[in-house]
Amino acid sequence: MDSKEKKPLSKNFNIFWAEKGLESDSNRIKRFVNIALVALILAAVLAYSFSKLNYSMRPETIYEYRYKFYTGFVMTVVISFFSLILSLGIGTFFAFARKSKFLPLHYLSKFYVEIIRGTPLLVQIYVFFYIVATAFSLENRYVLGILILSIFSGAYVTEIIRAGVESIEKSQIETARSLGFTPYQRYKFIIIPQVVRRIMPPLAGQFASLVKDSSLLSVIAVSEFTKNVQEVDSINFASIENYMALAIGYIILTFPISIISKKLERKFYYES
């Protein structure tokens, strides 16, 4: 059903799959007005709250410490980028391992998910960094940080991918088999293209979490964004300014994830 066609008679008809209709060009003004409205209301609440606070802003202090903000931001970008890719790899691997007929692999995957999801990242960082890495004489705290973060996030990614793959109807797998697809080809041509749309929203959420969780690496002295901002905060005590900058920084960081995820969702969209 294409909602464009139905608009003339009744725009209330298809309330469940209205997404597309909302983005049609005739609605552009409406859309803009509504976005503005929502933004305004939120801004008003914040502005009111601020006014009640009697807080005198010192935005210049951010400029003063811009270098710390900048280096932290870049570090977070780098760490997030590599961890994101690595955790996707790890998640994919364990999602498949879970389906393996080689039982140790199957249980390893289950263990991995339960233990990693069950324990705080903080503990994992300590254990990996101060116990395991020390024993194996691994030194570079940035590489280790990326590794730990990827392992952590990978557990969530594993489950997201697993859920997606399991949601594909069996009849399609069977059809692919009947055509002689190898397992690899099944994934490449049939499962993945269909699964992307379904797993993108939770995956984007997980990656947004990952970006923000990277701040926990500060406990092993990785100077990332949050840490640097908190350091600045502990010096200049302009908390509101600092944390606003922090929030904006992270929004800038996670926004591409949202955009790309929405793009992929749309690209792999097909009606079913």
Binding site: V219, K227, I235, N236, F237, S239
Partner: protein, 254 residues
């Protein structure tokens, strides 16, 4: 109008004291989770002096100043060093203690004195936002400064040889050296030109309370209150420090 209310009620209302109970023996909890420590005793003494009930709010260190500024607590009593930057946001009472920085050094590190750290390739661990952190930033341009959230992580770094030294206050350094005698040594002699002082944090507009607190601190010190606290919580340290000829926390001569 908020100010008037505050002033009006100040003699009846309870005194909400913010601290992070994670800095023994100044701010800590007993095994049941009740606040205890030097700052806690001091807070209760202050409450008694003001005739107000005391409620301790235990919160993360970086939540203290926002809480004070937004009126969620009345004072900060959490071994907070008086700095110019902090004074931009909040007010402080007169200092009630002074602290020196010391170093916990890995046994195998070549570092013998503070200046040895200011060399390419040395690594120092500091706790975020502490005076040790600020001091290192200012005075150790050649050293790699690693900033941690927790003292325990800093200590671990030194114990495992991942860092050469950990810079913090004397007392913590002393304690950790005692706990890790095989892997660490301590440099307790003061090396700073300027000392750092601890004060009680207040809202900027709370000058009435500040005067009261200053009066209290003066009286408390004169009555030997701080000596009592030292004997109660820091007997062993005080003895060691006296032996080494290093001045102690509450020996404030003004």
């Amino acid at each position: 109008s908020q100010k008037d209310n505050a002033a009006e009620q100040s003699d009846k209302k309870e005194l909400v004291v913010g601290m992070e109970l994670a800095y023994p023996p100044f701010e800590m909890t007993d095994q049941k989770g009740n606040p205890t420590g030097i700052s806690v005793d001091l807070a209760y003494a202050l409450g008694e002096y003001l005739g107000r009930d005391v409620r301790i709010e235990n919160m993360a260190y970086n939540g203290l100043i926002p809480s004070l500024m937004t009126g969620k607590i009345d004072i900060i009593l959490s071994s907070m060093t008086i700095t110019e930057e902090r004074k931009e946001s909040i007010d402080f009472s007169d200092p009630y203690a002074k602290a020196y920085l010391s170093l916990l050094i890995n046994k195998n590190s070549p570092v013998q004195k503070f200046e040895d750290l200011n060399v390419e390739g040395r690594k120092i661990a500091v706790k975020k936002g502490t005076t040790g952190h600020l001091y290192a930033e200012k005075n150790l341009p050649n050293c790699e400064i690693m900033v941690f959230d927790k003292e325990s992580a800093c200590v671990l770094e030194v114990v495992q040889g991942k860092a050469d030294a950990f810079m913090y206050d004397q007392m913590t350094i002393y304690k950790n050296w005692q706990q890790n005698p095989d892997t660490t040594r301590a440099l307790l002699e003061p090396f700073q030109e300027e000392l750092e002082y601890w004060g009680i944090g207040l809202r900027k507009d709370d000058s009435e309370l500040r005067d009261q607190i200053n009066a209290f601190l003066k009286e408390y010190n004169e009555n030997g209150g701080f000596d009592e606290l030292s004997m109660k919580y820091l007997a062993e340290q005080k003895k060691t420090f006296d032996e080494l000829g290093i001045p102690f926390f509450f020996d404030i001569e003004k």
